[in-house]
């Protein structure tokens, strides 16, 4: 049935830390490897090693350069606060001169030109998943017990409407099998009792070398994912569309300028004159 459950007992999902993701694509590769086998495989490719390869992947890692949009930063700073759904206070930025505004919004700590952001994109297992409700066959469904959004590959007719309904490009069509495929949150791993307990996690989480991906239950306020989401202003992607995604993203932390940090530690103003002289002497 393609109506959504009103609420789910658990809200299993991923917390992705954009501060420490280095864009290595290990999540994407290990996801492809597991899901090519597993209970939901294969994930087919066409012309895999040819000139025009096309294949199904559940993780796609984008790499972006971030700059402060000066025009927008100046013009919109007043107006934007009114349509904010969550109260985000501007963060004062010290030691900064020039034409850049004196305050920068949290989550946009872009105090250097060309900061890089690596952005892994996968299914967010939305609470308000339109990909499920548009499905004409009942092949797409959201599990009431843990909120995982799945496709029954035996019922899918391959109309592709669910991929149109997803804002995040999470669903990819399998050309060879004629059905739509998507991230299963490794449902065949996380409950799999043949695996060691520490391995009952999504493949992408286990593969991440920097620990930028956390798997957990967002319905439990004491879980690590919920706690970190609260502490570090975990965010929804495109919240204005109202899909209420389960997966959250932690924005990059405000960057400190190395030069400022070095100067600050080099002149400890609070010390008495003798010790300051000694400090200068020893730092030579």
């Amino acid at each position: 049935m393609t109506t959504l459950p009103t609420s789910t007992a658990k809200q299993l999902g991923l917390l992705i830390d954009l501060d420490i993701c280095v864009g290595c694509h290990a999540c994407a590769v290990s996801c492809k490897e597991w899901n090519d086998g597993g209970q939901f495989g294969p994930l087919t490719d066409t012309d895999a090693r040819g000139a025009d390869p096309l294949g199904v992947w559940f993780n796609r890692v984008h790499s972006y350069t971030l700059d402060l949009d000066r025009e927008l930063g100046m013009a919109d700073s007043g107006a934007r606060d009114t349509d904010r759904d969550r109260g985000r206070r501007p963060l004062p930025l010290s030691n900064h001169e020039g034409s850049v505004p004196s305050v920068l919004p949290l989550g946009g700590p872009i105090d250097a030109e060309g900061m890089s952001l690596h952005f892994p994109r996968s299914c967010l297992h939305c609470a308000n998943a339109a990909c499920v409700t548009v499905c004409p066959t009942g092949a797409s469904y959201k599990r009431a017990e843990d909120g995982i959004v799945l496709v029954d590959y035996d019922k899918c007719i391959g109309c592709k409407l669910c991929s149109w309904a997803c804002p995040y490009g999470a669903r990819e069509y399998d050309q060879q099998q004629g059905v739509m495929k998507k991230c299963t949150l490794c449902v065949d791993r996380i409950y799999n009792e043949t695996l060691a307990e520490e391995d009952r996690q999504p493949a992408c989480v286990l593969a991440c070398p920097t620990g930028a991906r956390l798997f957990g239950d967002f319905a439990d306020p004491d879980s690590e994912v919920s706690r970190k989401t609260r502490e570090r202003d975990g965010r929804d992607l495109m919240p204005e569309l109202g899909y209420a995604p389960t997966n959250k993203y932690l924005p990059p932390r405000p960057r400190q300028r190395c030069a400022d940090a070095a100067t600050a530690s080099a002149v400890p103003e609070a010390l008495p004159p003798v010790l300051r002289w000694l400090d200068r002497l020893l730092s030579r």
Partner: protein, 316 residues
């Protein structure tokens, strides 16, 4: 959005078929002058052929067409499922009308079969348009103007087809009023289209910063794509359409759908009686061509929000 030929053919042809059925549902039972013998059955067959061709074209774009029957099950939540159910339901009054027009069943039944066909055909076109108008991911489509556009074009193309069929049977003197109706309905449809294009040009779409959970003051530019070649998502939803070509195609659609079609209607009143129907057929073809181009643009110009992840050099 990638403008798939099968879906464009489906919406244009079945739209014209349902439009024709709507006009026939009124003309056949309620027209004040008796209709020429043979008009009703041939016209109903034409409507059914157009509808069926469109529906078959839509089946062609499925990955597993043999499972299409499953699409009838989720009518409570899915507009696409509702479309399937109504499309099939619409065959019932249409086929019964055909039987009544052959006098195989009592023609008196047409008094309720006609209105039933009108209601079901209108609903089908509306529900088809809602498949698109319900998608928040495509801001261009997520507006009430889309059902108006689909219904407008269905009525306009159906009306002109009804008049063309009439021109085969009756002299041009009796076509003045029907022709006038066709011109008015077509003009109204294209006015809705112009209004839609006007709205499209002013549309606000989610910015790339929002797509990657950053504040709107951050400018996001891609320096490395997630995949070296195309993916399903970029092929299907990130359709690269040269926006500077859009105005020319809009003019092409508008001129073909209105001016060229109207010239043929005017010609039909002047040429010798032998060529009246041919001129009216040309009017239909020009109009359908215009609608076809406008429907192509409906897809090609509609920007899916997932493009925010890929087209992040421009200021969206």
């Amino acid at each position: 959005m990638h403008p798939a030929l099968s879906v464009i053919a489906f919406t244009t042809l079945s739209g014209a078929g349902y439009g024709l059925l709507i006009w026939l549902g009124w003309l056949i039972p309620f027209h004040r002058l008796p209709l020429p013998a043979g008009y009703a059955p041939i016209s109903i067959v034409l409507a059914l052929v157009l509808i069926s061709t469109g529906l078959l074209a839509s089946l062609a774009h499925l990955g597993r067409p043999e499972r299409a029957w499953r699409a009838l099950s989720q009518w409570r939540s899915s507009w696409l499922s509702r479309e399937g159910v109504l499309a099939i339901a619409c065959y019932v009054p249409a086929v019964l009308m055909l039987l009544a027009s052959f006098n195989w069943i009592d023609a008196a039944h047409l008094r309720w079969l006609g209105p039933l066909a009108i209601v079901l055909a209108l609903l089908t076109v509306f529900v088809t348009s809602m498949i698109y108008a319900s998608l928040r991911t495509i801001p261009a489509w997520y507006q009430p103007l889309v059902p108006a556009l689909y219904i407008g074009f269905a009525l306009a193309s159906g009306c002109l087809l009804a008049v063309f069929m009439l021109s085969i049977f009756v002299p041009v003197e009796r076509l003045r009023m029907p022709m006038f109706t066709a011109v008015i309905s077509n003009t109204l449809a294209w006015l809705i289209q112009l209004f839609y294009w006007h709205r499209l040009d002013q549309l606000q779409v989610p910015r790339a910063a929002s797509a990657v959970a950053l504040d709107a003051t951050v400018r996001v530019r891609s320096f490395e794509k997630p995949h070296s070649e195309d993916s399903f998502v970029t092929r299907e939803m990130v359709f690269r359409f040269a926006r500077e070509r859009a105005p020319r195609l809009r003019w092409l659609a508008l001129i073909s759908g209105t001016l060229l079609s109207f010239i043929c209607i005017v010609l039909a009143t002047f040429v010798s009686a032998r060529f009246t129907a041919a001129a009216m057929l040309l009017a239909c073809i020009w109009q359908l061509l215009g609608i076809f181009v406008s429907r192509w643009l409906f897809f090609a110009e509609a920007r899916h929000v997932v493009s925010s992840y890929y087209e992040v050099d421009a200021r969206h």
